[in-house]
């Protein structure tokens, strides 16, 4: 079809009919729609950079404070430079907290009628959730990249760039898995104000009762059992190994298993809850 006939075509030709399209075309539209929704969500960070700045400044503050305040004491038990212990942990913490943005974002879209608008369009049904989780993962990636740069300034070093970047990738994948938990919560809570709290309150026990900031050795037994076996510690441990140049296939396998497990459980939960909430 020529450019000209498209622009001057009668009203109907403006919108291609999905019913007439093949499977490939459908697949393509799934991606295209997800991309459009993702871009729209990312605009929030471009237009309101203070959101991103706060999301970045806070973990950097943590990083600097922990390094200089506790660094001296903790280095005894981590056996080495605390910054190299802490950095991968803070990376995991930041990417997880970035994921919690999904909760608030979805509840806002629901309450403001954006979800209704999307659902009244002949777009891919998966795109609203997929675009949201993708955007928050990109945002998380951006945050931890800046953090790593800040860490570099105060002495953090990848032992090996190859494994270091693999660790970064693993952290981003973990963050992506967590966006699906956050999506499920956002769709359960619905109310944006409640979502503000519900979005990240559950992250505190997960991040503090873990090996992110300090080794678990000194924790009481009951806490230690939890702290050593929960996914945040496991993935943080693997990321730490990768960033310090160690490849531990078992750790990587367990971490990947957690990531895949979380996605496999929470993606369908979120999708189901989405269908339920949106058409209530």
């Amino acid at each position: 079809m020529s450019q000209h006939s498209l622009t001057s075509a009668p009203a109907k030709a403006l919108v291609p009919m999905a019913g007439e399209a093949g499977v490939l075309k459908h697949l393509w539209w799934n991606f295209a729609d997800t991309y459009i929704v993702m871009k729209r969500n990312l605009m929030y960070f471009v237009r309101e950079p203070q959101l991103l700045i706060f999301a970045t400044v806070q973990p950097i503050m943590f990083l600097v404070l922990f390094t200089y305040v506790f660094g001296g004491v903790i280095s005894f038990s981590t056996g080495g430079d605390y910054i190299n212990y802490l950095m991968p942990g803070i990376v995991i913490q930041s990417i997880i907290f970035a994921s919690s943005n999904t909760t608030v974002g979805l509840s806002l879209d629901l309450s403001r009628g954006m979800i209704d608008r999307f659902r009244s369009l002949p777009m891919s049904r998966a795109a609203v959730l997929a675009g949201r989780t993708a955007a928050d993962t990109v945002r998380g990636f951006f945050t931890i990249s800046i953090m790593l740069m800040a860490g570099y300034v105060i002495g953090f070093r990848f032992a090996d760039w190859g494994t270091g970047l693999a660790g970064l990738l693993l952290a981003v994948a973990f963050g992506y898995a967590f966006t699906w938990i956050s999506a499920t919560i956002g769709l359960l809570v619905k109310d944006p104000e409640a979502a503000q709290v519900a979005g990240f309150i559950w992250l505190f026990p997960l991040t503090f009762a873990s090996s992110i900031f300090v080794p678990t050795r000194t924790m009481p037994d009951w806490l230690r059992t939890f702290a050593e076996n929960q996914p945040v510690s496991i993935v943080a441990g693997t990321v730490r190994e990768l960033m310090t140049g160690t490849v531990n296939p078992d750790g990587i396998a367990t971490s990947l298993a957690w990531i895949i497990g979380i996605v496999v459980v929470f993606m369908p939960l979120a999708v189901r809850q989405y269908a339920k909430v949106a058409s209530r």
Binding site: L6, T7, A11, K12, L14, V15, P16, M17, A18, G19, W29, A32, D33, I36, R40, M43, Y44, R47, E48, S111, R112, G113, M114, D116, R117, F118, R119, S120, L121, P122, M123, A127, D191, P192, A278, S279, R280
Partner: protein, 332 residues
């Protein structure tokens, strides 16, 4: 499928828990005509619109839009309809133009066509000057117009507007009516919900009145008015304490009990012939020393029609009008 009716709801029932939001609603909008769905708060208007636009599944009933079964061909239906919901669903962070381009892209228009269509719509809805400003800076009326523009991106033949003028001031409302009239002049079928009776009167070819999830009246504005008494006499008594007494005195002049408002001292009387009855009203009230502060003779409005069929509920609702925000939280 009969193509002369673009929107058909047949015995649609919808419960929310114990609440019966729709209790067997049937209606049909002729192709190219405007159907006004009129009802007070909580009547079920939004629920019906959401069902007709694929957003909500009814418990039972049949819904056909543009010849397509809404329950079975959701995606096809979405290709041919436009919806502007009760709360302006536009993205605050994006500019007006970006909002429209995004919608166009989600209709799977090529980028240059989506852009061109956005520019056309911005022009049509007088938003060109604000096109590249973030929607956050828009007034309520501008958001409404942008929302309406978004519903028109794909030039739908069938359009649903849920309370398009609620929250607008009088001037913006009249401008919106003008816009809507232009939209439907080219053969678009429109279902429009409203709480404003004059709005249905102004815009709709056919009016369906619903209350408590049921259709309670249906017809053109004139047909609905035809069932009414010929004239109304609005009386304001000087001493509101005498309202009951006045109402009793005047009762024999009318086939139905006068409507009263104790607080304001209003008595509204429906009569066969206003001119003849006015003298009688004055004589009766004077005889009992009830002073008349104000007296008006008028033809019935759609408002009277509405009052006479929905009863007191609407009077209460109108006494405390509900303010609506835009882009605000849905009140559950």
């Amino acid at each position: 499928m009969p193509q002369n009716e673009s929107i058909i709801a047949d015995n649609v029932v919808k419960h929310f828990g114990d609440i019966k939001a729709l209790d067997g609603v049937s209606l049909a909008a002729e192709t190219g005509k405007v159907l006004g769905l009129l009802g007070p708060n909580g009547a079920g208007k939004t629920t019906l619109v959401r069902i007709l636009t694929t957003l909500l599944k009814p418990d039972s009933g049949r819904v056909v839009v543009g010849g397509l079964d809404v329950l079975r061909q959701k995606q096809r239906v979405r290709e041919i309809i436009g919806l502007a919901g009760q709360y302006a669903a536009v993205d605050e962070i994006l500019t007006g133009r970006e909002n429209l381009v995004m919608v166009g892209r989600l209709y799977h228009m090529p980028r240059h066509i989506a852009k061109q269509r956005a520019a056309e719509l911005l022009e049509q809805f007088a938003l060109t000057d604000a096109a590249d400003r973030s929607v956050k800076t828009y007034s309520g009326g501008m958001r409404r117009r942008l929302d309406l523009a978004a519903s028109m991106v794909a030039r739908p033949n069938i359009l649903f507007l849920d309370e398009p003028t609620t929250g607008l001031d009088a001037r913006a409302r009249i401008a919106m009516w003008e816009t809507i009239r232009e939209l439907v002049s080219d053969g678009t079928t429109l279902l429009l919900t409203t709480q404003y009776l004059e709005e249905a009167d102004e815009l709709a070819d056919l009016i369906v009145v619903i209350d408590h999830g049921r259709v309670i009246a249906e017809g053109t504005a004139d047909q609905l008015k035809a069932n009414m008494a010929a004239d109304f006499i609005d009386i304001t008594v000087a001493n509101p304490l005498q309202v009951a007494q006045a109402s009793e005195l005047l009762r024999p002049l009318s086939s139905e009990a006068p409507q009263t408002d104790d607080q304001r001292g209003h008595v509204v009387l429906s009569v066969e012939s206003g001119v003849q009855s006015v003298a009688e009203v004055v004589r009766l009230l004077d005889g009992e020393d009830i002073h008349i502060a104000e007296l008006n003779l008028r033809r019935p409005t759609l408002n009277d029609v509405f009052l006479s069929i929905t009863g007191e509920a609407i009077i209460e609702e109108e006494a405390k009008p509900k303010r609506r925000g835009f882009g605000r939280r849905r009140s559950a």
